[in-house]
């Protein structure tokens, strides 16, 4: 099997899914807003943030993300319990039915490492958010300066 076919397989599978399933995919029901990245100097790991809203009567489960701009994208959660700042890797994040989930500073976030090229403030970076049914949602993340507190200036 050629590499090209190998790459095409998941795409093919994703394309077939709506045909086999009676319901639309999780990704189709999720709307992403406030997608931004806090750019840090050099090759330091950066944080990615986004608000996810689910219009479906079923919960949607975010299981991960990928981007051509970063070699490594992980779903993490920060906590400051007991006065200690900690980070843990998490497997998934549920976007409740008719509800929303926020990846925001100090909580859930995407930890972005191994940037393919230096990321500059103002850059728009393509991400694919992966859900538990195999569906993906394409989202553009905007690069914001280190001292930003949100997605808008």
């Amino acid at each position: 099997m050629s590499l090209r076919t190998l790459y095409a397989l998941p795409l093919l599978a994703a394309g077939l899914l709506p045909a086999v399933r009676a319901h639309a995919t999780e990704a189709e029901h999720v709307r992403a807003t406030h997608a931004w990245i806090r750019v840090l100097p050099g090759d330091l790991p950066a944080g990615g943030y986004v608000t996810l809203e689910n219009s479906s009567a079923q919960p949607a489960t975010l299981q991960g993300a990928s981007s051509p701009a970063y070699g490594s994208v992980m779903l993490h959660q920060s906590s400051t319990e007991g006065g200690m700042g900690r980070m843990v890797m998490v497997d998934s994040l549920v976007v409740p039915a008719h509800g929303k989930a926020e990846l925001a500073p100090g909580g859930y976030h995407l930890m972005l490492m191994k940037a393919a090229a230096p990321v500059k403030t103002g850059d728009k970076l393509k991400f694919a958010l992966q859900f538990s049914d195999g569906s993906t949602l394409d989202v553009d993340f905007v690069a914001r300066p280190a001292n930003a507190t949100g997605d808008s200036p």
Partner: protein, 211 residues
Amino acid sequence: MIPTDSRMTLRRGGRLALLFAFALGMLALSGCHHDNMQWRLTDVSGHMPDLDFKLVDDHGKPVTGQDYRGKVVLLYFGYTHCPDVCPLTLAQLHVALKQLGPLADDVRILFVSVDPARDTPDVMHAYVSAFDPRAVGLSGAPRDLEALSKRYRSAYTREPDQADGQYEVSHSSAIYVFDRDGKARLLSTPANPQDDLVHDLHQLLSPGSPS
């Protein structure tokens, strides 16, 4: 024999007098301290040692706590490979200083690395400069960092390495506020609203503030 009710009255009178004396005493005490300011953050005055350390700043210059006398100091422990909470805290401090306007020229954010293996002065310089011109990145020998951390009962732990050799460092999330004389005054935590920090810094920086 004294009737019960009058004995009660006497006792109550005695208690009132005591209370009154106590109140007077408190007034006198607060008069001595001439400190009737209301702080919104946790007041740690007299409960923590003065600012003192021997570290290296982000220009590679050896510095001590004495070098920051005359400035109100915000001391925060963190590390540059921390993608979420440390940048958030520094961004919030930057916003707080912006709200203070020119008063903030007398403030220094001292960002102390708990990851001296990776946080060289060069890395620290690029990092703190991205947040605020009044931020200084301090690193140094592990034992000197430990000494400073212990002095303020702050804690940090290097977590086990991941497959790719990366690692996280768990660390105290508090911000320690020192006055111009290097006296520990306030403790801010992520739970405190930003306005409280701005309010207290304003009070600490304003002319005539007790120090």
